[in-house]
Structures are given as C-alpha cells and as structure tokens.
Amino acid sequence: MIYFDNSATTKVDPAVLDTYNQVSERIWGNPSSLHRFGEEAFNLLNQSRKQIADLLGVQPNEIFFTSGGTEGDNWVLKGTAIEKRKFGKHIITTAVEHPAIHETCEQLKKLGYDVTYLPVDKEGRISIEDLKNAIRKDTILVSIMAVNNEIGTIQPIKEAAEVLKDYPNVHYHIDAVQGIGKGIGELIMNDRVDFITFSGHKFHAPRGIGFIYKRAGKKIAPLMTGGGQEHNLRSGTENLPAIAAMAKAVRILLTNEQAKAQKQADIKSTIYNHIKDFDKVTIFSKNQANFAPHILCFSILGVRGETIVHAFEDHDIYISTTSACSSKDHVPSATLTAMQEPTELCTSAVRVSLDANNTIEEAEEFNRVFDQLYQKFSKLS
C-alpha cells in the first residue's frame, strides 16, 4: 500500500501509540483532582506542555490543548471576535483558507462582523500589498494559513508579520495545521504572530487532539466554558494520553526536520518532473521553495478527480480529491476556484500529500501506475 494522503490524516506512529497506551493504563487520573492520581496526571500534563513549548521555542503558558485544528481555528477567531469587539469588527483572512476558518468567518459575518477575504494569484498566494490596503482602524484580526491544504502554497506569513508590526493591537493568527514539521518553522514561529493552530493527527499523533499557541499577554475569550481547565480558557477534562502522545509526536516530527522536509521535496519532485510533460496534465503546486514540500496537486483534463482517486486505489495507492472534508459533495476545489482556474480543472484536481515516511520508490511506483492510467484515460476521452 502506498499512502499519499497525509494531509487528510496520518497513521499514528508506533512510538506515539506506545505512549498513548502507557498513559492510558497508568496515569489516567483527572489532572484537576487533588490526590495522587490527579497529581501524577497534572505533572504529566505540565511536562507534555513544556516539552511542546520547548520544541517550538515558546513558553509553556503559551500552549493550550484543544480537540484539534478545527476547534483551534474556531476558538481563535470567535475568541478574538468576542474579546475585541469593542475595538472593532473587521477581520482579514484569505480566500483560500480551510473551511474551519472560512465557515467561522461566514458565521461571524452573520453576527455583524465585516470580513475581507484577500484574493490570491495564480499560485494561490495573497499579495502583501493587498494585505496592507485591507487593514483598517477597526481591524481586530488577521488570519492567514501557513500552507494551503489543497495545493501547498506557502503564504507570505513572515512578510505579513513585518506589516503587522505597525499594528500591534491587531491579533495575528496563523493556521499551521499543514505547516508544522515541513521545514518552515522559522516562518511560522515568527516574532509577531499571536496565535497559531496545530492539529495532532496531521503529524502521527491521535485524532481528536491539537493545541494552539497563544502569545503571553494576548487575550481571547474561551470557546468552551465549564470546569476552568487550561487556565480557564478551555474547559473539559483533559485527554492526557493523547496529549502526552502528541508531545512525543511533535518531538519526532521536529527531529531532523529539514532533512525530512528535503526528502519529501525530493519525492514530490520525482512525481512532478515525471507528470509535468503529459499534455493533459495541469500541475497547480509549483516545484519551488514557496510551496510546501509535501503537497502536489494536479489535474488530468477531462477526467474527474473522483475517477482518478479510484483508479489509483485499484493499484493500492491512496490519494484524494483536494480536500477531505468536502470530497463527498463533488464540489470544485475552493482554492482552485479562488485562483480562477477554469471549472473543469477545479473538479478534476487531485492531491498527493506526503510525509517523511514515504519513499522515492513509492513515487516511482506512483509514476508507473500514472503512465498506465494516463493511457487508459486518454483512450476514453
């Protein structure tokens, strides 16, 4: 089996699962309880938090655990909207965000907020000029994804950080769900960002766990209220086994990060260079430094994305249409639509998404299968 759908979700790493199991069996107390079961759990919770903070070069009190990327995105947006509404109701984001951002912005619009969606160019990238022009007196939040989940564009998040230094009160949020561990840590963990969203299952931690970074001193309202866990900002009994497992997954992910990112870039190149010369192939992800090393999105003219996905599946190769969350509705890719690609391309796009466990050999096998399928598709059309 060749699993090339790592942007949808990844398989839990065996060492990470081991941690999950051990904590489940041994340290299952409630961290809020004031007895030894609770204390053990509390200590491990803090240790995990510190481990993640250290790995990212931030403070432990800047890490807050969530149930995943979607909750993190919802929280930062709504939490900012509530916290800062007396200062303004204008939010800036991009036209190519994940639905977790986009749908939340749409809801905020209904509640009276004003949202500017920055347009993107042919590579799916916003322009810094547009960002500068969009900022207003009542802007309270700028939210930009680090890496687009459909085609892998890296957004100019560092340049945006420079711009936003002139607007210290505007919350700056980065959705780094697809960006962590892909060799661009320096761009993400920049000196201006206030909030960052992460999701465990995209890097071999279990599903249902994630975290946000919140710069010390920056304020947001909680999304989930109740028992007051996570410094009163995220209520609910903590999922300690998953949190400890995720801390380990972050450590594994960030060990030799650059080399692993390079490996993924090489695998991507192997496929890119092979398929680029076929007449009917359009590749949306560029083979260059301002694209993530792990995402390759392309289409074959006249063949629906679903058809391509299923054809590869018959060869035990797993890729996907552009976004897992909407793939059942046969909707055209939102990112490609924003890039103003023709509709027939937007419905025929597929995504290959890699991680460090993939190999060049798998890419070569993919290429062989691609050749066969391309011939078959050509005969049909």
């Binding site: 759908d5 699962l17 309880s33 909750e71 639905p99 028992g227 897992a324």
Partner: protein, 384 residues
C-alpha cells in the same frame, strides 16, 4: 501500598477492551472517514456502526447522535446554540442551582448578554420540586436544562416528569446525563428529551470524547464550524478510534450491567454508612441514600474535620477521594452544590468529601476505606 481509587465521578480508568479496540483502529484503520477511497470507507463504516450502537443505548435514531470532544462541549453546544438560534422566541432559560460548571458557565455568559436564567433551588436531599419548574416556566422560556443526576451528591432529577411537562411547551429540554449515562436506563423518546450530553471518560471510555443527542426536529448552527463532518453538525476530522472506543465502552454496559452496578454501588454505600456508624464516627450523608439515585456517588460530612485535611490524609494512606467536583480545575472553592443544599453558613461546606465508585471498585477496597478513614478520623479528632 495498594492504591484505592474512589473518585470515579471525576474520571474512570479506560477499560482494557476499549484500549484494545482503539489500538486495533489506530493500527489498521487510519483513513480519513470523509475521504472517498476504501480506507476512508472503512473508517466511515466503523463510525456509523458506533453511532448506531450508541443511538440504541438511549433509544435514539442514528442521525440524532453527534460526536463531540466530551461533556463540556456537548453542554456548551446545547446551551449556546439553542440560545443563539431561538432568542427571537424568548430569552428565558431554566436550570437548577446544582448543575455542573459546563452548564453554569455558558449560562452565565448568556446572562451577561441579556438572557434571563432561573436557577431552581434544591432541598437538603439535592432534589428540585417540579412545582418550582412549573411556576418558572413562561412564554419566553426557550430552554430547560436540568441534569439527569448530580455529580457531587448523586441526587436524581425527575427527567420523565419534566419531559412530560415540556412536551407541549416551546422550550427545548436538555439534560446533562454525563454522570447518569452508563448507570441508568435512558430512553429519550419515552422521556421526551430533546438534547442530552454524555462523556466517554466517565464510563471507562477514552477522554475528550462524548456525544450530544439532538432530537431530529431540533436544528441549530453547529458550534464548531468547518468541514462537513457529522452531517454538518460538528466540524473536525472524526476521531474514529475514540468514537469506536466509546462504542466499545457502551457495549460493555447492557441493561443488566447497569442494574448490577446500581445494586453494587448501593451496597457499597450501605457498607460505608453502616461501617462508619459501627465505628462511632460522627458523620452525616449529604443527600439521600435511595436505591434509585446515582449510587456511584456518596457525599459524606465528617463532622469537625476539614475536607482538605481529610482528603490529604486519605491520600497519604493511598485512598483517592474528592473534596467536591474535580472539574473545578484544581481549586478548593466551596461546592456550589452543598451551598445550594445547606446554605453558605453550613459547616458541611468545609467538612465534606465525595466518594465515588466505579466498575473496578471491590468490596475489599470498601472495607479498607472504612478502616482507614476511621483510623484517620480518630487520630485527627484526638489531636483536636
């Protein structure tokens, strides 16, 4: 030293069967349930099978079950989204004074936004009076949120009667069943329940996993927005291993098991009360010992000994109990439940502990607990 865990209302150890099932899913089923291909379909099947099993456990239909990240999210969703979507019908909500913080905090937020919340009082047994609810109900009431059973004293609310009462009223009926699920038979149809919250980690399932039951005709915008997962009612990549583990935990508790547990825990309560009496301990039960209450929770007033001191001494002896609800994250603020039952001035507020039993609690452990707590109490009383 053998450690004895008597804090199962705070959280429970995961069942070996559950962990084994989750491991199977972690290793073998890792496709994203929303993707097209076979791996995803396999995930999807597990998701839907789990949903079916869980729906049956409360006599709901499959599409009425929405998986969430736990009890807190379920409560927040039910309350905040009902308020947001129904405020044109009225801004009045009724609850009780002894709900969990996951209900009370969202209500406080709504109060700050101009909603009116009625907190039904409770008597010394932790029970509400149905008449109070009838009196509070008006044309503006859009939501009644009343827990199935209390997490600190184990009292039960008249869910069936409330459901009957609200059947023909516009107000939706939500019940926080986090403590009751897995112990009581719940039938959302017979009881006319519109929304119901649960949490897996209270029934030997995984943490940060739960569901919100939403009666078919109830619709409101999803609390956590994004992808189209959970029939567009809860976005976020589905936690298939967690959901499957939850279903496994539920499958371990059939109707007989619930009865057996209730009976076993009732027996434990009697053992403790009789034991302490025989040992001459000066104590009282906070609440009522009744076979139909949530029998896994026993709240004791140990007269003259502070909660903190007693809890610490028990902990040193290897016995874990709670000084209230664990979910008030690490704090030892006075229990709002005991305050509602006995008033702020009652000595019970600072001199009570909660003992809560679970699937793996044994009679031997209860006997040890009785011996140890008696020793500690005698020692502490002598020092006074």
């Amino acid at each position: 030293m053998n450690e004895i865990y008597l804090d199962n209302a705070a959280t429970t150890p995961i069942a070996a069967e559950v962990l084994a099932d989750m491991n199977d899913k972690f290793k073998n089923v890792f496709g994203n349930a929303s993707t097209l291909y076979g791996l995803g379909r396999q995930s999807h099947t597990i998701l839907e099978d789990s949903r079916h099993l869980i729906a049956q456990s409360i006599n709901a239909d499959d599409n009425e079950i929405v998986f969430t990240s736990g009890g807190s999210e379920s409560d927040n969703t039910a309350i905040l989204q009902t308020a947001e979507s129904r405020q044109s019908l009225g801004k009045h909500i009724i609850t009780t004074a002894i709900e969990h913080e996951a209900v009370l905090k969202p209500l406080q937020y709504l109060e700050a936004k101009g909603f009116k919340v009625t907190y039904l009082p409770v008597d010394e047994n932790g029970n509400i009076a149905l008449q109070d609810l009838k009196d509070a109900l008006d044309d503006e009431t859009i939501l009644v949120t009343i827990m199935s059973g209390n997490n600190e004293v184990g009292s039960r609310m008249p869910i069936h009667e409330i459901g009957e009462l609200l059947k023909n009223h516009q107000a939706w009926f939500h019940t926080d069943a986090v403590q009751a699920y897995g112990l009581l038979d719940i039938d959302v149809k017979a009881d006319h329940i519109d929304m119901l919250s649960t949490s897996a980690h209270k029934i030997n399932g995984p943490k940060m996993m739960g569901f919100l039951y939403r009666q078919k005709n109830i619709s409101f915008p999803s609390f956590i927005k994004g992808g189209d997962q959970e029939m567009k009612r809860r976005a976020g990549t589905e936690n298939v291993p967690g959901i499957s583990g939850f279903a496994t935990a539920v499958s371990l508790i059939d109707a007989d098991a619930k009865k057996q547990r209730q009976a076993k825990y009732y027996h434990f309560k009697e053992m403790i009360v009789n034991g302490l009496q025989e040992n001459g301990v000066n104590f009282a039960v906070n609440g009522q010992i009744a076979p139909d209450n949530l029998n896994h929770v026993l709240n004791l007033w140990i007269k003259g000994i502070s909660t903190y001191v007693l809890q610490t001494n028990l902990d040193l002896a290897g016995i874990a109990v709670s000084g209230g609800s664990a979910c008030t994250a690490g704090s030892i603020s006075p229990s709002h439940v005991l305050v509602a039952m006995f008033g702020k001035q009652s000595p019970r507020i600072g001199e009570s502990i909660r003992v809560s039993f679970g699937t793996y609690t044994t009679e031997t452990e209860i006997n040890t607990f009785i011996d140890e707590i008696t020793k500690i109490i005698k020692r502490l009383s002598k020092n006074n």
